[in-house]
Symmetry: D3
């Protein structure tokens, strides 16, 4: 086992099953996160650069040094159609590591979007391109190309562990990571979860209370809830 | 006097006078806050989930535990047409406590919107529903239903004291609380304040300086302001 | 030399050359910042109040006390067509120091926009007016007119030094300060930088990798990058 | 009812019963907060300026404007032996509003300490005086004396509602507010709570597990906890 | 593979080799982190509750729900002599989840300390006990015992991945995680690194410049550094 | 005029008059800041790494790239007895850029301390050495030596402009910058300010109110202060 995760590019990635990824694309981040047992979410400080941005693809992970986007160029070569670049940084950093040129390159490689625990720039162009990006900041601050990081090693991005090949789903509510090995299972669970949402919504719209629909009155009483006037 | 505000639901709320609430709906949050003597604002970290969101209604207050939205279901039953749910949490928490199902239920009860010192999710759906929400975060993070809080007790929400029945006005500039007892008085003051804004705006647009319109030159000089070249 | 920068208004400002300002208006903030050697950026917490806001003009600087917007009225008189008000505060403060009345007055004076290291309000009106503002917060919180600051002294605004007359360029990516004395030089450098972007974009869109286009493979290898399977 | 809480000094305060205050001084903040049902805590960003600082006294409340400590001088006159000054600000502000001169004056009036949702300075002197202060910041930033606030009105300080006369207890763990009307009741509850802590501590020190001492195994099993190897 | 990491307690943990742990105890966190190639650090917001706190032991991981410390009681039973409890939370939370009673229990089990990405309380008592704790906050806020988390699953704590059995080293500079499989290798590297520090220190104290000692003059010149007068 | 401040080392610095520096060493940061008219303070997030740390010396400025401490080695050579290294970063960064080896080197050069808008490490050793450091963070995170910054150019450090040769005074209350040209004048003003503090303290200790000592009753009444019972 090598002690050092820096300075390496892993070319072989076992990507999640394409059929499972395609199914997951139909569900919202909140549903998938709930379906997996409320795990796998990145922290909510990651926000889309434009409303309605949506990504569902397989992760190519990138580990970068603060103020340095060299490895994003290295990562471009590893991207395949259907991939999502997931960029973690060795420390908190808001610099604008990604802009419209890299987006053009990533798209040419077939990448679907970017999730980055750092900053991005050229957001007007990225929006015009409809290239979806979820970032911790928008910043014009330029970066250097001087220090090695890695590509396709396991990373912690915005508080969540991401292994190369995992499914990344991102929408207005945030970003969730689905481990490749359970992508199909998570899609099943999300489907089951959403199946009866329409029915619930109709009942609630008709005035049925969640208290009754979810049978909460008895457990609330047992927990000691008191009604007073 | 009971020491403990947790675990109770107060069913009787003296809501602010409807006529006063209707009048307050015509004024901006900044004007109302100024009219009341610059008090009553919630902290500016509360932001609307979509531009143009607007609420003016009477508060049903909810006190919740972090990571737990059980009391929102209890609160639904206490909502009446014209109410606004105001959710405070016993500690800072960004979890997504509210989504489109609860919004459907709240709307069915006649609620006009939500002010929550925590997170929300399903923001795409909430926006499509045009259900106005002011929150501290957007987060897909799910919550449990395990611990009691309270409904319709006085709460501190985003730094402001809210009593059930108070008027809550929220727009792009923030959220202000108008105590029920002074709602009419606040509406009068806001109306007086806005009455001469059109006149001021016209003067300023014509090139009159605020220095002259507000007669500031003398007090500035007395305060010691020096002009140099 | 006077020790105290507070309580003075400097009426004479050497503004950057108009032709240079006009040229800088054609470039993005990121390009200008890069062209100047990656300096001059304000911190990324300054954000536009509406997407697409853009400013390029000469700075009239204002130094204010927290919770006090008196000097903004003093500054209005010093604004000339093509100016941008740049407001620094003696301490971190989010209060809503600027709204639609001041915007009306500033516009009547010919000002192009506002950059403020504090809060603003009436954002709905400001957006309707298409008056571009970059601020650290949106807040309805009102301010007093009681304490002197200064106009047209050097200020540090959001981490960047601004001298009166400097060029301020702001767009979706942030705010950059171009010292008046190098405005022409910065425009030249930005033009040179953007000149070959179209070519680069075309190559990247065609699938050429940055690794090859920027000849990075050799320096990466020298730095020790290892490819593994 | 007056709409405006600014610009008034209430001279008559109903302070909590002295005997109850004296009893509360024997308990930790955590115990009192638990004894009251987990309410009344100020936010944890308030920190003591030196380790071991402790306060237990009755609140004289002060509402100030950011960057302005005028009302602290007004408040000094309202302080009586056994009081604690509790300073809230109309907006977030870190300026150094309080230093060794005010501490000398407050102590001369019999005040026991200060809780301030703003900054303080002269911390070396305050520490030498052993004048306990809990603040949100330490800052040398000076303040003006230009804008009115109020003394002895209800305030929200660091997220907690404080009425004049309430008991304030502060130690290394934070600051808790005990409403005057329930001071005796809270002291009883805290005493009851601490009574069996020694016994619990002895058991735990002897190796008894909380799982057994608190009889948690059955509820954990019911909740679905699974042990795996 | 199970999708859900919540609600389970893994009793079997492969702990890092004791000899390696003992060796790592002699090195500082900064040295170990450097020796591993600058990886494995938790974020710097984790701070010791008293100066000089030091921990070196094997991780028992705990995943908790915000505002809920139930799993800490479950974890106590899994602690063995030489262990360190490492507590991650499913969301950002500052509540005081740990105090002197749990510390007494943990110590009785042989635990050496606590690393917690949440808050703690009773810090006066914990300091008196010299029970080392590294936390993100100090808060008197009490917690409930209502929702399951897990023990001895992989967790992300303060931005770092921790597997049960990994070595945790914490000192005034922060907290580092050494994967169990490379504990010996990391100790070797740290030893090598510290071996020549005394020599370097002596040279620097004698006035030798790092520029010369590290032979930086040539690379600096190549990078383009210019000396001007 | 050169557009680019990066990559240069200015060897010639006009340092503030030594006699003035020596006088300023007798005054607190708060007094000096007040004496200069309430300007020149760095932001209060800079904190000493140990209580009682004190610095008064002339600035050698350093501008660094995030995660890169190369220029600190370059700066060492420019330090003279009585200097203080003042480190600004091109972006917010908490990495541990400075430790005991650099402190040994800086001290050998005669430097009195460090003010750094980034992180430091080896705080236990620095404290043992009594080498005073004011930083924004403590972090074990290591840095690279790859990217040029500058030495002895004007920098903005923690919100304050610092020119090489300016006087830097730092104590428990924060850090203040005194421009070299007004060092004597600032010392005079600080001396005048402190001269009557002892008298004021004595009066306040004797029970005289600030309201009377500062003759505030009349202006408060004019401002509209109302006393009520």
């Amino acid at each position: 086992m090598n002690m050092n995760n820096l300075g390496i590019v892993k070319r072989t990635v076992v990507r999640a099953d394409k059929a499972a990824v395609d199914r997951l694309a139909h569900f919202g981040v909140a549903s998938i996160h709930e379906a997996m047992g409320r795990v796998g979410l990145m922290k909510p400080y990651l926000r889309p650069i434009y409303a309605g941005a949506h990504i569902c693809g397989t992760a190519v992970t990138v580990l970068v040094h603060p103020g340095d986007n060299w490895m994003l160029h290295v990562a471009a070569e590893q991207l395949r159609p259907g991939d999502v670049a997931v960029v973690a940084c060795t420390t908190d950093n808001d610099d604008g590591m990604f802009g419209d040129l890299l987006a053009t390159s990533f798209r040419a490689r077939g990448a679907l979007g970017l999730v980055i625990d750092a900053g991005v720039r050229d957001v007007k162009d990225l929006t015009a391109m409809q290239f979806p990006v979820f970032s911790r900041a928008i910043s014009a601050k330029g970066t250097v190309k001087a220090t090695l990081g890695s590509v396709n090693v396991p990373v912690v991005c915005a508080g969540a562990l991401v292994n190369p090949g995992d499914v990344i789903v991102a929408d207005d509510d945030g970003v969730v990571v689905v481990p490749a090995a359970i992508a199909q299972q998570a899609a099943d669970a999300a489907a089951a979860r959403e199946a009866n949402e329409a029915d619930k919504r109709a009942k609630l719209a008709a005035g049925v209370l969640g208290l009754d629909m979810y049978k909460m009155r008895e457990p609330l009483e047992k927990a000691g809830l008191r009604y007073v006037d």
